[in-house]
Structure formats: C-alpha cells, structure tokens
Amino acid sequence: MSNAPIDKLKEWSKQGHRNVLGDSLVMLAAERPEMCTVTADLTPTARLTGFRDTYPDRFFDVGIAEQNMIDFTAGLAVEGVLPYAVGLAAIVPMRPAEQMRVTLGYMNLNAKVVCIEAGVRFGPLGNTHYAMDDIAVVRAIPNFTVISPSDPLQIYKTIFAIADHDGPVYVRLTGGPGFPVMYPEDFDFQIGKAIEYKEGSDVAFISTGSMLGAAVEAANTLEGKGISTRVVDMHTIKPIDTDMLDKVFAENKLVVTVEEHTPIGGLGAAVAEYKTGFENTPKQVMASLGDKFQKLGDYAFLLKENGLTAAGLANLAEANF
C-alpha cells in the first residue's frame, strides 16, 4: 500500500466520503493494473470523473442498470480482472441483491461492491434514497465480507485492503462533508479486526461507520459523569471480530451498538446473534435508525431524531446503565 496520505485528511474530511473514494480508487489503480471500476451512471456523484479520465480503458459505465452492473462485474471477476462496482447504497445492495447472491456470493468471486451515501445522509431526497437495510441484505449472503469504515483514512485503507482480500466484499460509506477525522496518524487496519478506540470498563459503545465520532464524544460525556466507557470501532461487520466481543462481554456492564441502519440485521443484530450463545453477558441496547421509514429532514435532523448524536448516545447509555 502507498504511504498513508495524511496530508489529504483535512481536505477529505471537509469533502466527505465520496471524494475519499474517488481519490483512493485512482491511487489504487496506479498500483494494481488488473483493477477496474464499474458504475451505473454515477460518475460525477461518486467522484469517479478523475478515475474515468486517468484510466479510461479501465472504467466502465453500464448505464442506469444496477443489476447488470453486478453481473458485468461478476463476469470480469470470473476472468481474473479485479473489479470495483460503485453504486448508491440505497439502490445497489437491494435491487441487485439476487445478483449479488447468485453471482458474487455463490461463486465466491473476487469482486468489490462499494456504495456511497449509506444511512440517511441524503436527507431531503427522502426515503427512496436512504440505505437503512443494506447491511442486513448483504450480511445474509454467504462468502460476503461487509465493511463500514469510520473516517477518511480508514476508507482509504479499506479500498486498498479489499484489493488483497480474495472474495466478494461490500463496503458501505457513511458520513457527509465535514465528517470527523478519527485517525489523524497512520494506523494498523486489518479486515475483521476491530479497533479499540478507547478503553473503559462500564459502558462499551460498539460503533460502525462514521458514527464513531459521536460515540467517542458520548464516551467523553459519560466519563465526565464517572462512567468508564470503552469505544470499539467495529469497521468490519462480517466477519465480526468475536475476540473483541469476548473481551467486551467479559469486561463491560452495558453494550451500546451504534449504527446508521435498522436494528434488524445490522451491526446490533450481529452482536446480539453472537451474544445469544453465552450466559451472563451484559445487557445490550441498540442505537439505530429504528424499524421504520423516516420523516423528511436533513441529515443532522434525522440523526438527532433517531438519537444518533453524542447527546442521544450518552442519554441512551446512561438510562440503561
């Protein structure tokens, strides 16, 4: 992998995950000649213009046809090309779910599906453009790895790491322009290995995606009230890091899972599924988007409405501790 582009983090944080993706793909392509990008008429939105102009022979736009994007990607992967399919999280894992199951999953193909704007960041565009169930859909497909990076540098590292991971991977990108830099320095990123962002023995926040910032802020609030709080960055949701979960279950008194997703089938569900096999584990509560379609509102409104803010998380933890 290239040296971590620390000098870009401030700019990437300001721009949001789309730019991190677009820039990272160009950087990856320079190192991996077999890699290509496939999209379904999303070039400017997903910040793929630079990739298209730099590597026109390795850039394929299938038109507005997400199902075909996945199957075309599968065909490329069958023949040893390393394709990254880029789509909208609200559309891609759900509309071509069957393609992802029978081609990428069933044949265990070395193909990557990276989706932008997961969760409710699309605010005013409404519920058709919210991705609240994508983790659930992909997590149910055998062979798939599911990753939700937490900050700009982790997105960059994910894009590179999945190139070296043999098999289908789904990456959901969350957080809009202004999402916080959680890793200002280079750090060790391994697929399937959660990061203990902060130690603590009472409450444990287990967050995924750009919720990490709010979780850390909430943890600091709780610490101010004498509640020792651990924060785990569970960037890989499948396979989930059971070693980290074992540690949390053994050492913490309350588990709060934090995700921009329905409580059905996402990170919270994955933690609960593992936890159900053990006796004497701590109580778990899920901070999520709930099992509902959302009111119309901008991103900040929707996060607040669902308690996915530092204050909301601190209150939820305190009420259940």
Partner: protein, 278 residues
Amino acid sequence: MGNNNTVEFIQEKCAVMRRDVIEMGYIAGGRGAHFGPALSSIEIMASLFFNIMNHDPKNPTMPDRDRFVQSKGHACLSYYSALIESGYIAKDQKSTFKQDESILSGHPSRNIEHGIEISSGSLGNGFAVACGMAKAAKIKKENHKVYCLVGDGECNEGIIWEAAMNGAKNKLDNLVAIVDRNGVQLAGKTSDIMDVDLVALWKAAGWEVLVLEDGNDLPSILEALEKMKNSKSGKPHAIIANTTKGKGISFMEGSINWHARVMNKEQYEQAILELESN
C-alpha cells in the same frame, strides 16, 4: 464446416446425448427434470462442443479456451450430456444427477475442472455474466470467444436487455448468444405469456442477428455459428434458433407438460424405444 462427415459425427453425438438426457432425467425420479428445454437445445450444444468451440477436456483451464455459459441453466441436462460425451465428466456420474452431494445439480454450479465456467439458472444472470466475461477477454487482449445459450422465455427478464445494450456498447464481437426459441416456457406458450418480436428486440439492442428457421437442423446451426464466429460486423452476435421443445421424443415435442416433470417407467421405456428406433 458442415460437411457430411462432420454432420454425421455430430448427429451421432446428438443421439447419445438425447439418451443421456432421458437416462439422467429418469434417474432423478420424483425430483423431476427439465426434459423439454434440454432436448430442444441438443443440436446447439453438440455443435458447440464437438465442432465450433476451441476447448480441451483434458485441460479445462486452458487460458485460450472458448467459454460456454448456459444461461438457461434449467436445461442443464443438455449441458451435462455434452460435458459427459466430450470427457469433462465421467460417464458413471450420470447416475448422480440431482442426488445428494452430486456435482450435477438441477442448475449448473461453477466447476471449472468439469467444464462448468459459471453457476447459472437464475434466469438472465448467466447471459449478463457472459457479457462481463467477453469484456474481460477484450481487456486482457485474449482472442477466445464466449458462447451463451439463452432461453426465449428467459428473454422476459429485464437484465437480458440491460446486458444486451451494454454488450453492444462494448462492441463484444467475441460473444455469440444463441436463443433457443422453443416457444414454450414454464407456464405456457411464450406467445401467450409475453408475445414479443425477439429479432427486433435484439437488433434494437445493437446486435447482429441471424434467424435459424430450424434450430434442430445441424447443417444450419453449424453454418450459423461459423458465420457469427467469423463475422466482422464488430457487433455482438445473436442467433435466434427456432427449435422444437422436447425434440426427439414424440410425446414431449411442443408439449407444455414436458417443460419440467417426473418421468415414469412407461414413459422412460417409450422414450428409449423411440431413440433406439431412430
């Protein structure tokens, strides 16, 4: 191609393959089998595997092999019979069709060692993946062809047209789709369920289209495949082959009832008798 010796040789293969289809379908017992769509495509499959395609059953991963994708995966018996008779799959595997832990599932499951390039059977997807495979050959500057068997009922699927348009856009002249137009799909005649002008649709999607009046006639098929294989049109190629569902077994020919069903002993014996008397 298509001289008398060639045709005679493939004709003999077709006869053996039809018998394989009936035997394997009968072995499936109560699990049933898709007889009709397998039998309609025998001549197409035999032409590909015993004449048109560059491949080597002793070297199934040969990089420059032509690829075959059976997108209408429910017709797997014609595929398996071609793989058995060309040597990818041992003859004694026939008895395992649809049995526990067999490699011969009711729809093809990727198994390159045995000549199965991709998993298929979820209609439309095999063809769309084949387009990606053809594009990969272009990217890698490889000269092999990709052949794909598509069903006429399968052309109801939207992804067929998403992929067809993209295939034309990418000038996949290394891809030949053969539409097995047997006129019958699961619940009835294709003309009753979705009556469309397939020739016009494939042309509108940007493909070079050739219509075969009799897709069970070997010289015609060989000629069509040769023509498409050597075409300089720069477009992907579609052969719309008008075939007979259940071809070769009198009580199955053109029958809606034999798209997929369980075969009893009397039917099996009659089918074998008909094949032997031909």
